[in-house]
């Protein structure tokens, strides 16, 4: 029963062109920003503070800009796509299909689980394809990744998808109309890119805002993808003779290094934060479902 319900939900997401295209708005905005000016801005920032004697190869610069682009793209897509694919649970309520499902003896928990797993599958499919395309882009422009970087990047994508799906499941549970779908969809699509540091590095925000953002778990997801997508290119810079201090400063500026009240958050801690958040959000989703079911009875 669960398998067929999941199949229904996944099929509906991919057949609904509106939902599918909405999911791609944020990555599309990001691509346009990079193609028009962000790429050049970052390229200049990478070379601006270098000693005059050092000249970085074009391929390395492309690798750096590309690494930043794909890390932002993947960090933001994993969450926005999850939201859009999970809107199916709201749409079922808004158009009344949920009545047809609940009229049967199916357990409410089975229905909730089917939405969660379907959103997870749809988002994973899209984001893994996107990861493949991003890696292809890096291979064409400037490849400095090791096998472990790629594997870590895949792990980051999976964790971010789990995080995005769990977060959207909790938020979407409170929505019930097409208007609410549009409102939340617009807010998430336009806002998440900023607060997770995908459009602009968090380091460029005011100190107060940086402190607020350091409380958001998604920020550490972006930092993880950025670390793994740029590690190879940054290491190559060191080989090219760039001082380690300068590279650390660059890592700070690029959000590879994140600080929680002046204390640097290391990569294992970032994974810990992300995994703990996923577990907490799933637990909240289960509890909210149980509460809603009890109330409706």
């Amino acid at each position: 029963m669960l398998k067929i319900l999941i199949k229904r939900n996944v099929k509906l997401f991919f057949k609904d062109k509106g939902m599918f295209l909405t999911a791609l708005i944020t990555p599309a905005i990001l691509l346009v920003l990079y193609a028009t000016f962000l790429g050049n801005v970052y390229r200049d920032s990478f070379t601006m503070n270098l000693p005059e004697t050092v000249k970085l190869p074009e391929k390395l610069l492309d690798g750096l800009v590309g690494g930043q682009l794909i890390s932002s793209l993947l960090a933001v897509s994993c969450v926005t796509v999850a939201f859009c694919s999970n809107f199916l649970m709201v749409q079922d309520k808004a158009i009344g299909t949920i009545k047809d499902l609940r009229i049967s003896p199916v357990k409410a928990s089975t229905l909730s689980l089917s939405y969660y797993i379907a959103a997870l599958i749809s988002t994973l499919l899209i984001c893994l394809v996107a990861t493949g395309l991003c890696l292809g882009y890096l291979a064409a422009t400037g490849w400095y990744l090791s096998v472990s970087d790629v594997l870590y990047l895949l792990l980051d994508v999976v964790l971010l998808v789990l995080f995005g799906t769990a977060l959207s499941s909790v938020i979407n549970l409170f929505l019930s109309s097409q208007g609410q779908i549009s409102a939340v969809g617009t807010i998430v699509s336009s806002g998440y890119g900023f607060i997770c540091g995908a459009y602009m590095p968090i380091s460029s925000f005011s100190p107060g805002l940086q402190k607020v953002i350091s409380f958001l778990p998604g920020t550490y997801g972006t930092a993880l993808t950025r670390n793994h997508a740029m590690r190879g290119a940054l290491a190559e810079m060191e080989t090219e003779g760039i001082p380690a201090k300068l590279i650390e400063e660059l890592k700070d500026a690029l959000d590879c290094n994140l600080y929680f009240f002046e204390k640097q958050v290391r990569l294992p801690a970032m994974y810990g934060i992300l995994v703990a958040t996923i577990i907490i959000l799933i637990a909240v989703y289960i509890l909210l479902n149980q509460f809603q079911n009890k109330r409706s009875r």
Binding site: M1, K3, I4, L5, K7, R8, K11, L12, K15, D16, I95, G96, T97, K99, D100, L101, R102, I103, S104, P105, V106, S296, R297
Partner: protein, 309 residues
């Protein structure tokens, strides 16, 4: 015949609005039960409670011997519901829709294929299986809605205004299928409709007004109680009709006399045999019953009611 649905003293309010008040009725196994009322009379609230979609404030509901409060899932398994508006997934094919809905009743694999073959033959939709539901005509979609409701061979079929907006051919097909299911499988049909000619075919009718039962009985009982008989008299002049001293309406080539019952009609005929040479006696219609009971008129198919008070 046993009572398959027993409702005793049902209450439901939404804030200040008392949607259902002290509702009690019985539905017998295999009968066509018509539940009538204007919009807001409490029909949908009652149906939603029966189907376990809405909690009740008071009263007892027992379906096929099971208390709704004790085992709602068992009750859901014996109810099939055709909603007023189609609630299938428009983007998915007919096959995908029916497959996903059958899975809700644990009907999968070969069992599903077998049931699908039976239903596609019964409702004649074999050629529509691959088409998206959103691209079907109203009549085609209704057939799929009914197939969905019948997937698990329910004992009770709830039809919430099933023929509203349908063409006569599809309405006929639908009623043929329902009659066949009632005959062959003793299926109980719980119907709400705005078409009084459909209600007239019911075994038992309950008319709801402002959340309360305003009248109930067989169509014949209701007609006898709430409407008179009509005698249509041909080939006489108006003066002679006037002399009879009963209310009448002039038709194009006849006069329609309204009498309180068949006995009064017989009395008139016996008393004035020279006038009653060419005539016919008919009972009042369900429309008249509804109008007399509620003071409101059900607008056929439109779903609106006109208050004649």
């Amino acid at each position: 015949m046993e009572d398959i649905i027993k409702i005793d003293r049902l209450f439901k309010a939404f804030g200040e609005v008392k949607a259902v008040q002290d509702l009690s009725f019985r539905v017998k196994t295999g009968e066509l039960f018509a539940f009538l009322g204007v919009n807001g009379a409490g029909k949908s609230t009652t149906i939603n409670i029966l189907c376990g979609q809405l909690s009740k404030d008071g009263g007892k509901v027992e379906i096929d011997g099971t208390d709704l409060d004790k085992n709602v899932n068992k009750i859901k398994g014996i109810l099939g519901v055709v909603f007023q508006d189609s609630v299938l997934d428009k983007a998915l094919s007919v096959y995908d829709n029916l497959q996903s809905r059958a899975a809700l009743y644990d009907i999968t694999g070969e069992r599903f294929q077998k049931r699908l073959a039976e239903l596609s033959q019964l409702l004649d939709f074999g050629n529509l299986l691959k088409r998206p539901v959103g691209k079907l005509s109203g009549g085609q979609r209704r057939r799929i809605d009914i197939a969905r409701a019948l997937l698990h061979s329910p004992k009770i079929l709830v039809l919430d205004e099933p023929t509203t907006g349908l063409d006569p051919q599809t309405r006929k097909l639908l009623w043929n299928v329902i009659s066949r299911l009632r005959q062959e499988e003793s299926m109980t049909v719980f119907l709400t409709t705005h078409y009084m000619e459909e209600a007239a075919e019911a075994d038992y009718v309950v008319i709801l007004d402002s959340g309360k039962i305003a009248a109930e009985g067989t169509p014949l009982e209701l007609k006898n109680t709430y409407t008179g008989d009509f005698v249509t008299l041909y080939g006489v002049d108006e003066l002679a009709v006037k002399d009879l001293g009963v209310a009448y309406t002039a038709l194009r080539d006849a006069f329609r006399l309204q009498v309180s019952n068949t006995a009064q009609a017989t009395e008139l005929i016996v008393k004035h045999p020279h006038i009653f040479t060419d005539y016919e006696i008919t009972k009042g219609k369900m429309d008249d019953v509804f109008l007399n009971v509620t003071g409101k008129k059900l607008e056929g198919g439109g779903g609106n009611a006109e208050n004649l008070d």
